[in-house]
Amino acid sequence: MTDLKAQIIEQLNLQEVTPESIGDDQPLFSKEGLGLDSIDALELIVLLKQHYNISITNPEEGPKIFQSVRTMAEYITANQTVKA
């Protein structure tokens, strides 16, 4: 999950955030969490495609998958077909 955190930080150009500072279950989108928004969700969809070859065609699925780093990692494990 550390790799995934680093990928998220790079993709979203998060400043003053390190992989260690993101909790596995910390909400990504709420204000108490990282405070990401709908544009970040679209960026994360591309991240999944680029790094894990996973396609999400319906952006409405985003909120469920991107609740936290853990839910993202679980989704990747369940859906990955080709190792990046």
Binding site: Q11, L42, V46
Partner: protein, 355 residues
Amino acid sequence: MSIYINGTGCVSPQQTTQGGPLLAALKEYEQVRLAVVDPDYKQWIDVKQIRRMSRVVKMGVAAANLSLEAAGLTAPDAIITGTAYGCLDDTGVFLKKMVEQQEEMLTPTAFIQSTHNTVAGQIALLLQCHGYNNTFVNRGFSFENALLDAMMILDEGGADNILVGGMDEITNYSHQILSRFGIYKKAPVKTMELLNSPDSGTIAGEGAAFMTLSKTKGSLCTTELKGVSTLYKPLWEGEVIGHIVQFLEAHNCTPEDIDLLVTGRNGNIDQDEIYEEVAEALFPEHPEACFKHLCGEYPTAAAFGAWMSNALIAEQRVPDAVMFYGHPPEKINKILLYNHHEGTHHSFVLLTYAE
């Protein structure tokens, strides 16, 4: 009706964000591409929001905030910007990826930040300003059109305080492409010697300058914005001269009333000729000051010129670094700012000392 400049803010290749007297610490360069001196943008923008912003957005937001602070306001009623090139950096990022990745796996951030009204939109978002918001993008008229729009809205009574600004950025792509058009000097030139350069070509610049305008004079206001006018593709210098006379007449004054002429000379001997001709015809004995050796040439450089002219009136002092001809006037009551971009876009701004 009077329109007052109640506050200004500027991010430029000079140290213009710190306050203090104009050009207290002059920055001199010997290059053909000037870059702004970046302030610490986190003073105005939260880290969560800054991560998506390109330089021109940060410059614009900073200059807008400085202008509002100087006017003692937390938010304006309307925001109007001028930018010829818009958000070049994000445009370039998206174009490059689109071409190189053959239209696949593209991400939205650069695209949404590439629209020309990103700066005006981001200022509105940060200030939670729901008022009128517009962006003009017509080359060397971008800032002037924004200024005129603001004056018309104030005149109608449609807003009390309007934030108006002009900004443009240079990117590696834009500089390389514009250089291919041959508009810059072939070799680096010392900025303080630029205006007497004997050959063609100028130096590239960038920056953002904002002013807060109102019909109500602010407590620290020194300057009244009397008028702005544009002249598109004049056929010959006589048309420029005639236009200036009419413009001044419309504001009840003559060339004799002008205490200081501020011109947009850029060190390109071909393009500076018109300033010589205008000065000779209308302002033969007038002192003349210049600004593009300080900020470089770009389509919205007149915003820097207007910002500087306001500072000259406020301080009632013309630093040596900006004097081009004659001696500084004892009293700076009226300034005519005359700028042209590429010989096709001529603009005129009349500023007076506010009693």
